[in-house]
């Protein structure tokens, strides 16, 4: 049963905010779940084209990004543990590294996308309608899914930035770290989705 609190405005319940975050993560998973369904249906229908198109992507860049995100998931977890152990300095460094890894991911993505856009392979380009249907759908899905994922990376970065400042000015402290915990949970979600995107987009050939 829940703890009692004196006033609505002073209300605080860390258990509740964690539960809320988990529920929100469910909705995010279903959001991407819808896209994964669409992906699997079209991949089934245009199997050959999907294989060929995936050869256009650089597995190296994708792998680097995967490692960057996995590493950042580890550092954000370390930041949380450091906070729980009242080691503010380590926590700050670890959040910093997480943000740096996120930036590495985005810069990589920028070059990757830039490369495709140079070749006219982007939704709405003059070239795209000339491709056959399977290739068109593959690249559309590629931009749509990685784009939505990149948007989540940015949201996650904003969240972690806020955590960074709050750790610095002491409003996140070893007795009150629910926000950092939720930020870390969200970051793991972003990482998890990429773990699925990477093989589906890059490794199917």
């Amino acid at each position: 049963m829940s703890e009692k609190h004196n006033h609505v405005e002073e209300h605080r319940d860390d258990e509740a905010s964690k539960l809320g975050m988990w529920l929100f993560i469910f909705t995010e998973l279903l959001l991407f779940g819808g896209l994964f369904i669409v992906y699997s249906i079209f991949r089934h229908e245009y199997y050959q084209a999907f294989r060929e198109s995936s050869l256009e992507l650089s597995v190296t860049i994708g792998a680097i990004n995967t490692i960057a995100l996995l590493f950042s998931s580890m550092t954000v977890a370390m930041a949380l543990t450091a906070m729980q152990k009242n080691d503010k300095k380590t926590a700050l460094i670890m959040i910093g590294i997480t943000l740096l890894m996120a930036l590495v991911f985005l810069v990589n993505k920028y070059f990757e996308w830039g490369h495709k856009i140079e070749h006219g392979l982007y939704p709405g380009s003059a070239l795209m309608p000339l491709l056959d249907r399977g290739h068109l759908l593959y690249f559309s899905l590629y931009f749509f899914m990685t784009g939505l994922h990149a948007f989540h990376i940015i949201v996650g970065m904003v969240l972690l930035f806020i955590c960074l400042f709050k750790v610095k000015n002491g409003s996140i402290h070893p007795e009150k770290y629910a926000l950092l915990e939720n930020g870390a949970l969200y970051w793991h979600l972003v990482d998890l989705i990429w773990i699925f995107l990477f093989p589906l987009m890059y490794l199917i050939s």
């Binding site: 829940s2 209300h11 809320g20 929100f24 909705t27 279903l30 819808g34 939704p123 559309s140």
Partner: protein, 536 residues
């Protein structure tokens, strides 16, 4: 517990002076009761916009041929009527208004778990609503796809589909956050001693609803985003000319939109389960069965979406399977109906306005539900698919079900909300007019549909004239009744007699506190009874 008016420090939530004054004290309120009223006033406003659009359609259909508007205008009007009524009225309706107001009180809490998130949900609800209404007035013309936005037409029509779908997306987000808030509230904030199976049945229904809102809405969200991307960039997710699959759109759409039907009806069933024990002064029959059937409806409801698509080109196996599941989902609904009837048996029935609405809910819901089975079986569906029969069916469920439950709820709880009582005689007259008007409006459409009158048609053959005219007249009778009902409620809330804390001799927690409640609902720890409906 003593009556709160004797206490010195008692200030009702309506008079409470917070950080902000006047209207800002409402817009920036985090109190669940004020947010509930904000929802109620905005939803009522949108409801009357929807009613007016509906009446315009009824005037147009009163005679064959063009009566008052052009065909394209008609297309826009039925689309915006649908979008407003579905996304802005019936989906948020009961859970955002009465759920917000009474969920915390019924479980003995001071507020929901995330009051600020609750306020944010209302804000984005308003943003989404403004977008939806605005789509009607843009230069490119109102969307003309129907509220379902079926591809590929929705990806190619020149009207403002993007704004309307974005509006639906934003409204969906609001719905998700409300659901999330309720789930956490029910898990975390139940008063000491209130176990899950001591909860009243309205919170149970809200709990099942919240899970649907949470798990189904993201799917339609991403589908609408795909639709928007398709329009903007010519991606062919759904357009067969671009390699896409229009059936895929229908699947993704109904994976959300069928469970959404249960978002509408489950809280309505919850309200009815509260009202019936109070007005029969009897312990509810089959408490656990009613509570668990809500979860069963929510669960099975996720698996029946295909019955919207029997004629769209699905395999034979898929059709009979969806048909089977559709029949299965009718079972828990029937369990509820039988339990309500059993509760009334040998009860001391008191025919007050809330109970009249609750009874007519059961009557209309049975008609709507059994005609749903006709639509759920593949063979009969093919005869009546996309006809006025479908229109009649879902209005019986949504308006006759959710709408009448909303009216029941407002008549039941308005003395608690405002601390004043409305006039019973006028309420009964308004109920009679609404009930007659409703049946005149929608029942002929069952017959018209059977005879072959398609839905969403601007014109019709002369043989349908009689039924259409009766239906149109019914529409105006219904609107008159609605007007009288609202007038009576407003008069009651403003000038009615002061209501006692427990006017109906109800047994649940909201009747143990003063009317209107204070800011924090409970001054002392509420006492939890083993069973919430204990009249012995």
């Amino acid at each position: 517990m003593s009556s709160g008016t004797e206490k010195v420090e008692y200030v009702s939530y309506l008079d409470h002076q917070g950080k902000y004054k006047g209207i800002l004290g409402w817009i920036f309120a985090t109190d669940h009761k004020r947010i509930a009223l904000l929802y109620m006033y905005s939803i009522a406003a949108f409801f009357f916009v929807g009613v007016i659009l509906g009446l315009l359609m009824k005037i147009e259909l009163a005679a064959p041929g063009q009566t008052i508007m052009k065909p394209q205008t008609y297309n826009g009007i039925f689309t915006v009527h649908g979008v407003i009524m579905i996304f802005m009225v019936v989906i948020p309706g009961l859970s955002a208004v009465f759920g917000n107001f009474f969920l915390p009180i019924l479980i003995g809490a001071k507020d929901v778990s995330f009051p600020k998130l609750n306020r944010f949900s209302w804000w984005i609800f308003i943003v989404g609503s403004i977008m939806a209404v605005a789509s009607q007035f843009l230069r490119s013309g109102p969307p003309d796809t129907g509220w379902t936005f079926y591809a590929p037409y929705s990806t190619t029509t020149g009207t403002s589909v993007i704004l309307a779908t974005s509006a639906a997306f934003v409204l969906g987000f609001s719905s998700i956050l409300t659901g999330l808030n309720f789930i956490v509230t029910i898990h975390q904030l139940r008063a000491p001693g209130m176990k899950f199976f001591n909860m009243p049945l309205f919170p149970w229904a809200l709990y099942a609803t919240a899970w649907i809102q949470l798990l189904a809405t993201p799917i339609v969200g991403i589908t609408l985003v795909m639709l928007i991307a398709e329009r903007l960039f010519g991606i062919g997710f759904f357009d067969p000319n671009l390699g896409g699959d229009p059936l895929l759109y229908q699947h993704l759409f109904w994976i959300y939109s069928h469970p959404a039907v249960y978002v509408m009806i489950l809280p309505a069933m919850g309200v009815i389960s509260e009202i019936i024990p109070t007005f029969t002064q009897r312990k509810i029959y089959g408490y656990k069965a009613i509570a668990l059937s809500s979860l069963a409806i929510a669960g099975v409801g996720f698996l029946v979406w295909g019955h919207h698509m029997y004629t769209s080109g699905m395999s034979e196996q898929a059709r009979w399977f969806f048909s089977l599941l559709t029949f299965v989902v009718a079972v828990p609904s029937a369990i509820k109906v039988f339990n309500w009837l059993a509760t009334m048996y040998k009860g001391s029935i008191d025919l007050k306005p809330p109970f009249l609405y609750a009874l007519s809910f059961i009557f209309l819901f049975i008609i709507g539900g059994t005609t749903g089975l006709l639509l759920g079986s593949v063979a009969t569906n093919i005869q009546v698919h996309d006809t006025a029969f479908v229109v009649a069916h879902f209005h019986y469920i949504i308006f006759g079900g959710m709408g009448f439950a909303f009216f029941a709820a407002i008549h039941y709880w308005s003395p608690k909300i405002y601390g004043r009582m409305y006039d019973f005689k006028r309420a009964n007259i308004a109920w009679g007019i609404i009930f007659v008007g409703f049946n005149m409006l929608y029942f002929p459409q069952f017959i018209l549909g059977f005879q072959g009158m398609p839905r969403r048609y601007f014109d019709y053959l002369p043989q349908f004239q009689g039924g259409q005219l009766v239906s149109s007249i019914g529409g105006f009778i219904l609107a008159t009744g609605l007007f009288l009902m609202v007038r009576n409620l407003v008069l009651g809330a403003r000038k009615g007699e002061i209501a006692p804390a427990n006017p109906w001799n109800g047994s649940t927690l909201e009747w143990q506190i003063p009317s209107p409640p204070s800011l924090e609902n409970f001054d002392e720890e509420p006492v939890i009874k083993q069973n919430p409906y204990d009249y012995e």
